[in-house]
C-alpha cells in the first residue's frame, strides 16, 4: 500500500478516525495501531508478517534478558547473539543470491562446479529499517541508555506503519516515551502534518515521478543513445529525483505519524545546500547517518585514534553503508566516493582556519553537489560499466538534446532551488496555513491534491528506498 494511493488515503483516514474513539496512547489505542500496522505490512506480502513478529519477539526477549542479567559476559553474549541474528536475517534476504551465485562461479572457475541452490530471495519490504531499529534498541538497553519497553510498546515501535517500510529510523528512546503519555484528547499539529503530507506528495508524484519518466530512466537505461546535455540533465535529474522521492516519502511518514500524535525526528535538511560531504551527511537521511555513526563508526573507534585509523573507520563505514543498499559494485563505488572525499576533507581542513566568505561557500556547495552527483551516477546505474559509459558520454556525447525540455529544466531547477529557501520561510508558510479555518485548510488541501494529480505522470512507481 503506497502512501500515494487512494487505498492508503482510505486506510489512514479510517485508522485515524478509529484512533480517536479510544483514549490516546492507552492499551486499546496501542492494540489498534499495532493491528493497523500489521494490516498495512500484510498489504505488501502477508507472509512476512511472521518475520516482523519474530524480530519483535526475539529482540524484546534479548533486551529483557540483558536488563535482567547480572554478569557482563552474559550481557555481552546476549547482545552479540541478538545483533548476529538480526544481521544474519538481513544478510540472508539481501545477499543470499549474490553470494550463492558468486560461490558457484568461483567453484566453476576452479573446476569444482557443483549445483548450488540459487534461490532468488524476495526481500521483505522494510526489513533493513526494522532490523536497524531493533539493533539500536537492544544496544541501547545494553549500554543502559534505554530501559526495556513493555512488550506491547516495543511491538508498536517496531511495526508502526508510518515508518515500518522505509524509516525514518527512530530510536526507541525517542519513540517509546511518547507512548507513555496520557492524553484524553491530544492537541494535534494538524496544519504542519497536512502541509508535510501535501509537500511530500508533490515531491514524490510530481517532481520524482516526472523526472524519472522524462529523462532519468531513458538515459540511464541506454546512455549511449543520448547526448552529453541529456546525460547531464539525467544526472542532475536523478539527484533531484532521489531527494524528492525519499524526502517526499519521509515527509508523508512524519505527517502521518504526527496526526497520530507521534513525533519523528527530521530526516532531510536541504542536503544539496551542503558545503561539504560531512555537512551533506548531516542533512541527508539523517536518521541513517546517526545510526551508522552511533552503531558502526564510533564502535569502530570513530575519530579517537590516529588520522589513519579515523580514515579507515570512515571508509569502512561508508563502504558498509554502500553495501547495505545491495550486493553490487555500484554501491561499493558509491560508498567509496563518499568515504574517499570525507577522508580527503578531513585531511585538507586539518589545522587550517576556514575563511567563510560568500564565494567560498558557493564554491564549496557547487563542489559538494557535484561530488554527490558523481556518486549518484554509480548508485543509479545498473553496472559500473554503465556508469562509466554515462561519464564517457558526458565528454563525447554529441547530438540533439530532445529529452531536455523546459519542464525538465524547471523541475531540476525547482528541486535544487528549494534547498536554498530559508527554513524560516517554510515554517512561516506552514504556520499561516495552520492558522486558516478548517474549511479553508480543507479547500487548499483539495486544490493541492487535484493539482498534484494533474501534474504527476500516469502511474506512480514505488518509493526508491522501499527496495533497501
Amino acid at each position: 500500500m503506497l502512501f500515494t494511493t487512494v487505498d492508503f488515503a482510505v486506510f489512514f483516514t479510517t485508522v485515524l478516525a478509529l484512533s480517536w474513539l479510544v483514549p490516546a496512547f492507552g492499551t486499546r489505542w496501542k492494540l489498534l495501531v499495532l493491528l493497523s500496522s500489521y494490516v498495512f505490512y500484510a498489504w505488501w506480502d502477508w507472509r512476512f508478517c511472521g518475520l516482523l513478529a519474530a524480530s519483535t519477539a526475539l529482540n524484546q526477549a534479548a533486551a529483557e534478558a540483558i536488563a535482567r542479567s547480572r554478569t557482563a559476559a552474559t550481557r555481552r553474549t546476549l547482545l552479540v547473539l541478538a545483533i548476529a541474528a538480526g544481521l544474519a536475517t538481513l544478510g540472508f534476504f539481501k545477499y543470499a543470491g549474490f553470494f550463492a551465485s558468486s560461490l558457484a562461479n568461483a567453484l566453476g572457475h576452479l573446476g569444482l562446479g557443483a549445483p548450488l541452490p540459487l534461490l532468488q530471495v524476495v526481500l521483505p519490504v522494510g526489513i533493513s529499517f526494522f532490523t536497524f531499529q531493533a539493533i539500536s534498541y537492544v544496544v541501547d538497553v545494553y549500554r543502559g541508555t534505554t530501559e526495556p519497553a513493555s512488550r506491547l510498546d516495543f511491538a508498536v515501535y517496531l511495526a508502526f506503519f508510518p515508518h515500518v517500510v522505509a524509516g525514518p529510523i527512530v530510536r526507541a528512546r525517542e519513540f517509546i516515551p511518547q507512548l507513555r503519555r496520557s492524553a484524553a484528547e491530544p492537541r494535534l499539529d494538524g496544519g504542519r502534518a497536512i502541509s508535510l503530507i501535501l509537500g511530500g506528495l508533490f515531491k514524490k508524484v510530481v517532481l520524482a515521478g516526472f523526472l524519472s519518466t522524462a529523462v532519468v530512466d531513458p538515459v540511464f537505461g541506454a546512455p549511449g543513445a543520448h547526448s552529453r546535455v541529456e546525460v547531464l540533465a539525467a544526472v542532475y535529474g536523478y539527484a533531484v529525483q532521489i531527494w524528492a522521492d525519499f524526502s517526499g516519502y519521509t515527509d508523508i511518514a512524519i505527517g502521518c505519524a504526527l496526526l497520530l500524535g507521534i513525533r519523528f525526528p527530521a530526516n532531510f535538511d536541504a542536503p544539496y545546500a551542503a558545503t561539504s560531504l560531512q555537512d551533506f551527511w548531516r542533512r541527508w537521511h539523517m536518521t541513517l547517518s546517526r545510526w551508522l555513526r552511533d552503531y558502526l563508526y564510533i564502535p569502530l573507534g570513530g575519530s579517537r585514534g590516529s588520522s589513519l585509523l579515523t580514515a579507515r573507520n570512515l571508509m569502512l563505514t561508508m563502504l558498509l553503508g554502500g553495501l547495505w543498499h545491495g550486493a553490487a559494485w555500484t554501491f561499493v563505488v558509491w560508498g567509496g566516493i563518499h568515504g574517499g572525499f570525507l577522508v580527503a576533507e578531513r585531511r585538507l581542513r586539518r589545522g587550517r582556519p576556514r575563511v567563510e566568505t560568500g564565494v567560498n561557500r558557493a564554491l564549496a556547495r557547487l563542489l559538494t553537489f557535484h561530488v554527490v552527483c558523481l556518486a549518484w551516477i554509480f548508485f543509479r546505474a545498473d553496472s559500473v560499466a554503465t556508469a562509466f559509459s554515462l561519464l564517457g558520454r558526458l565528454v563525447t556525447g554529441g547530438g540533439p538534446a530532445s529529452l531536455v525540455t523546459v519542464p525538465v529544466v524547471l523541475a531540476i531547477a525547482a528541486g535544487i532551488g528549494v534547498q536554498y529557501v530559508p527554513a524560516g520561510t517554510v515554517a512561516r508558510l506552514t504556520a499561516r496555513f495552520a492558522q486558516l479555518r478548517p474549511a479553508f485548510q480543507g479547500g487548499v488541501a483539495a486544490a493541492a491534491l487535484v493539482g498534484i494529480g494533474v501534474l504527476g505522470p500516469q502511474g506512480v512507481a514505488p518509493f526508491i528506498y522501499y527496495r533497501f
Binding site: 540459487l118 532468488q120 524476495v122 485548510q441 480543507g442
Partner: protein, 341 residues
C-alpha cells in the same frame, strides 16, 4: 487543532478533491480490472460525477488538463483515431522486407534484391510493449549503440496490454509510433497485465481463460498483427518468459498460447518463445542462468516476473537471432551483439 477539527479538514480535503477529480477517478475505476472492486468504485463515483458536473467543480481540472495537453488519465493525450493515417496510406518500407518469412501470402511484401545493412541504410527496428519489455528495449538500444547498421526505436508503457484499450490503446499508439522511423520489424512484448476479464464486441464481459476470453484475446492480438502487417512490416511477437509463481505462470501460458496461435496463422509474423531462454535444464523458472561465458548471472528481477538488464540482453540477442535466422539475405546476418557487463 482538536481531532474533530482535523477530521473536518480531512473530510473537506478528500471530499472536495474527489468531487473536483470525479471524472478522472471514474475513468481510473473504469479502466481497472472488471470485478467487485470496480463495480463498487463506479457505484460510488457515478453520483459524484453528476454532482461535480452540476456544480461545475470538474472545470478547474478540465482547464488544467487542456492547458497541459493531457488526457484525464494523467498521461499525454492519445492520438485521435481519425488523426492516424489509414493503414493503406502508411508508406511501406522502400526497400521492402528483406526477411524470409515463414510463409507467403497476400500481405507479404514483394521479393526484393538483397540489401547490405549499413550505417546509411540500417535495419530499422521498433521494440516495445509493457513493463516486461523494459529491459528488452533498453538492451536493444544498447546493442544498437555498437552497431551503426541497426536503428532502434523503443516504447514501453508500464501496466498496459491488450485487455483494456480504454486504458491504453496499443493499436493506436503503435500506429502513431511506427508512423515515424518507418521500422521494418516491429518487436512487441505484451501480455503480463492481461490476465483479467475482457469486454467482448457484443458488450459482454468474458472471464479470464474462458473460451470466449481466448477467442476475444486472440482476435485483438491478431488484429494488432494484421495492422502492422498491412503497413508492410514484419512482426516479432515475443512470448512471455517463464514466471516464478506457478499459478501466475499458468495464467501467462493462456495468454501466450492465444497469441502464439494467431501468429502461426499469419505470414510475416514470427513468434519468439522466450521461455527456454529463462528456464533451467528441466524447463523450470531460474533466476540465475549461465551467460555466454558460462558464468551464473541474474537474469530476472526480484519480483520473478520482469527481466534484469542481463535478461534483457539475452532476450534482445534472441530477437536479433530470430530475425537473422529468417532473413533470406546473408548480408543481413547480424554481428555478434553481446555486450560486456
Amino acid at each position: 487543532m482538536r481531532p474533530r477539527q482535523l477530521l473536518l479538514v480531512i473530510v473537506i480535503a478528500l471530499g472536495l478533491a474527489a468531487l473536483m477529480d470525479a471524472r478522472s477517478l471514474e475513468r481510473s475505476a473504469q479502466t481497472s480490472p472488471f470485478g467487485l472492486r470496480r463495480s463498487v468504485e463506479l457505484t460510488v463515483l457515478r453520483p459524484l460525477v453528476t454532482v461535480s458536473d452540476h456544480l461545475a467543480l470538474d472545470r478547474p481540472r478540465m482547464a488544467l488538463d487542456a492547458l497541459l495537453h493531457r488526457s484525464d488519465d494523467g498521461g499525454p493525450a492519445p492520438p485521435e483515431p481519425a488523426s492516424l493515417p489509414p493503414p493503406q496510406q502508411v508508406r511501406v518500407a522502400s526497400s521492402g522486407l528483406r526477411l524470409r518469412l515463414p510463409a507467403t501470402g497476400e500481405a507479404s511484401p514483394p521479393p526484393a534484391a538483397p540489401r547490405v545493412r549499413t550505417a546509411a541504410d540500417p535495419l530499422r527496428l521498433w521494440v516495445g510493449g509493457d513493463s516486461v519489455a523494459g529491459f528488452l528495449c533498453y538492451e536493444m538500444e544498447a546493442i544498437a549503440e555498437h552497431d551503426p547498421a541497426l536503428a532502434v526505436r523503443t516504447h514501453f508503457q508500464i501496466s498496459t496490454g491488450l485487455s483494456r484499450p480504454d486504458y491504453y490503446d496499443w493499436p493506436a499508439h503503435l500506429a502513431q509510433d511506427t508512423a515515424t522511423g518507418n521500422p521494418e520489424v516491429v518487436v512487441l512484448l505484451v501480455g503480463a497485465n492481461d490476465d483479467q476479464p475482457l469486454e467482448t464486441p457484443g458488450g459482454g464481459v468474458a472471464d479470464f481463460a474462458t473460451p470466449e476470453w481466448v477467442t476475444e484475446y486472440g482476435r485483438r492480438a491478431g488484429a494488432l498483427m494484421d495492422q502492422v502487417r498491412r503497413e508492410g512490416r514484419t512482426v516479432v511477437w515475443v512470448g512471455l518468459p517463464v514466471m516464478r509463481a506457478h499459478d501466475f505462470g499458468a495464467r501467462m501460458d493462456v495468454i501466450d498460447n492465444a497469441a502464439r496461435r494467431q501468429a502461426a496463422r499469419r505470414p510475416g509474423v514470427l513468434f519468439l518463445d522466450s521461455r527456454p531462454l529463462f528456464s533451467d535444464a528441466g524447463g523450470a523458472y531460474a533466476a540465475y542462468l549461465p551467460d555466454d561465458s558460462g558464468a551464473l548471472t541474474l537474469m530476472r528481477a526480484p519480483d520473478g516476473v520482469h527481466l534484469s538488464p542481463q535478461g534483457g540482453t539475452r532476450l534482445a540477442e534472441a530477437v536479433l537471432r530470430l530475425i537473422r535466422d529468417h532473413s533470406a539475405d546473408p548480408a543481413l546476418a547480424l554481428p555478434r551483439t553481446g555486450r560486456a557487463r
